[in-house]
Amino acid sequence: MQMQFEVQGMDFNRAGEAAAKIKKALQMVGMEVHTVRRAVIVAYEAELNIVIHARRGTLTAHVYPDRVEIEALDEGPGIPDITLAMQEGYSTAPPHIREMGFGAGMGLPNINRCSDKLQIDSAVNKGTHVKSIIFNQASGE
């Protein structure tokens, strides 16, 4: 099963809708609770990264019996230093975004924490491609 959603930059009213739909679909196909939780965190953080930082993008969930793959592809400023962006607390979000409770520099670290495999490719002034794989497991926390 594959689900794909268009995500618009700065659309905070609809932000999170794609992740919520992915969650429902994963529950319907009977994925483990632990898998659903991790996949939802990855999907939400990836979706919000597009909304906060990019002009537009797509969020895709590929669902297999043994794993979920979440892909976020955006057109935006890109990430100049991925290692730095992976550090907890590092953020380039402006003050008005932080006032909404975002921009604490936990987006990519949370995606990393919840992923079994993670690939991030980015080109400055072009965009970013995030691919996360979450294996379907009963527990693990």
């Binding site: 999170g16 919520a20 969650k23 604490a104 949370n110 924490r113």
Partner: protein, 115 residues
């Protein structure tokens, strides 16, 4: 220990914004935070989400983490859109004039565990 929303209301002298018919719902833990990502990652299902954030994303996060209810602190009341979304998701909303620290402390004192 499970605590009913009607007890949360009493303990914190809270006002019900939506979900007055759901005060028998029980919460198993509390999570107090003003950060979206931390609320998403560190709270547990069936918790009471305690926050000063009143934007629509806090309801989306509550829905995703399967929080039982949201308690807004510092007397902050959410707007219409947020209330409508919470009603659609059947997530009761409460507001107290108490601060985050004080709200968490009082609920902990009455037996609510940390999420």
């Amino acid at each position: 220990m499970l605590i009913k929303l009607q007890d949360v209301k009493r303990i914190l002298d809270a006002e019900i914004i939506t979900g007055a018919d759901m005060l028998d719902i029980e919460v198993s833990s509390g999570f107090g935070c003003d950060l979206i990502s931390d609320s998403l990652c560190f709270s547990r299902p069936e918790c009471l989400l305690i926050t000063g954030l009143t934007n629509i994303q806090i309801v989306r996060v509550a829905d995703m983490i399967e929080a039982r209810a949201i308690l807004f602190v510092r007397g902050k009341k959410p707007g219409k859109e947020i209330i409508q979304l919470a009603e659609g998701k059947k997530i009761p909303l409460l507001v107290t004039k108490r601060f985050l620290f004080e709200s968490c402390g009082l609920l902990y004192q009455h037996g609510l565990q940390s999420s």
